[in-house]
Subunit: 249 residues, 2 copies
DNA sequence: GCCAATTTGTGACGGACTGTAACAAGGCGT
DNA sequence: ACGCCTTGTTACAGTCCGTCACAAATTGGC
């Protein structure tokens, strides 16, 4: 499973070079494999299955989740076109991958995938970059789950998926939300009721408005950002903080 | 007291492969670098700093954390001897790394680190494996934060660090807890009071007993595992589940 | 197009965890 | 040994979110 966040821009960049003459890309690797389709609600693989394939999402959205002994479900991520699923060194999948919408994927034998990666000095950094992005996304999610309020979680989520499919990394005004409230709840560590209540609260405050059941329109983008509890990071390289010297020499 | 001594012994084990004749290891890469020491409470680097070094923990424990705009802190992980810190492709560190105890680290220039990794077909899979392990840990942590109760979180944490320094992956009876209650709370998404209350509850139930302020003795290991809410995974390869066929061909 | 099943929305209520605050226990330096 | 300061514990009131119950809106199947 890969990426989440800031990779949208990268995906676009990577995807626009699918033809064979160019320097190799991860997408290029998969492009010769046949496309497989899964209906919404069906699993591509299950947690604990022998992990002998890596998948590339071509179309649609999947959920990646784990189940606790007593049935509690935690969705650790949603996968979009361009993402890779099942990249790991374990011999068994660590999570279940299930289609949220009807999806198309390409499959690659793990062994061959590893060989190709190992052989190509061009592919390696690409894969490495993805793992790093995925790690960064996981950390953001930990922050969300550990310390954010229900409202902040929902707002963060809406921002996340609004940036997800946008090539510029800009938040789109109309946001597709293919997943159910239960999916959102299990991703955000909340209940459906809470998610539902917050969505209506955001609507009544004019921050968003519903557009059918599986899309919303963002009416107050800045407000949404504020409510998400993120510092809209100036990130100007000139040190904003006066850090203490950390060189002990 | 086993306490400090047991840690030292394990550390020694981890470090004992620095000689050059062997096939290259990540440890070996760092072994030529001078050791740097940091006092407890000091930062090795800060979130947002220019990310130009990778570090190997030689001795002690560090916390990795992010801060939300209004000061809320989330510790995303604790780093132990043998762990690498700062491995990413971003040009800035995504988190702050701070010494919990007095620590020793080795430093490696990021650029050179990348080159070495890229050059060595032996090192690459090692690094890759680490990233995958880190990712798996992050997912477990998401499960913990999203769905586990306060008691389950504390028990999971105690189990985690008890396994951490043990070469067999077996949980040690005497568990060092170098971090403060606040660290635990910020790692588990709880408050210090809750952590404190749960620890005393576990003590009064005879599951653990305190051994000084920074160590506990696990008295009922199985009970602790149960309370952690984990399925003690039989993981026998014979399919326990009847999975549906996932090959659409 | 119709009806059952699923998903979503809304309210009342309770409970787990929080936050404040007061106190106890170590740690550390003089 | 004595104080001071940090860290940890305990109690109690408050709150956010979960639980339960039911209604409304969609979806999907035929």
């Amino acid at each position: 499973m890969l990426s989440q966040d800031s990779i949208a821009a990268v995906n676009h960049f990577v995807r626009q070079v699918p033809c064979e003459a160019e320097r190799p890309t991860l997408q290029g690797l998969f492009s010769r494999q046949p496309i497989e389709k899964f209906e919404a609600g069906t699993a591509v693989f299950w947690e604990g299955d022998e992990a002998d394939h890596v998948f590339e999402v071509v179309e649609g959205v999947l959920r990646i989740y784990k189940i606790l002994g007593d049935g509690r479900r935690v969705i650790t991520g949603f996968m979009y076109p361009g993402d890779l699923i099942g990249v790991s060194l374990k011999d068994r999948y660590l999570y279940t991958a299930e289609a949220v919408t009807r999806i198309q994927v390409r499959r690659f034998a793990r062994q061959r995938f590893q060989e190709e990666i190992n052989r190509s000095p061009e592919l390696r950094p690409q894969l490495f970059a993805r793992l790093c992005d995925e790690m960064a996304a996981a950390q953001d999610q930990m922050v969300l789950l550990a310390r954010k309020s229900a409202e902040e979680r929902v707002c963060s989520f809406l921002l996340l998926i609004s940036r997800r499919l946008d090539r510029d990394g800009q938040a789109l005004r109309v946001v597709e939300v293919p997943m159910t409230r239960l999916d959102m709840a299990d991703y955000l560590g909340l209940t459906i009721e809470t998610v539902s209540r917050i969505m209506t609260r955001l609507t009544s405050r004019g921050v968003i408005s519903p557009s059918g059941r599986h899309a919303i329109i963002v009416r107050k983008s800045d407000k949404l950002t504020t409510l998400a509890g993120e510092v809209e990071a100036d990130h100007n390289p000139s040190a904003a903080y006066t850090h203490q010297a950390v060189w002990p020499n």
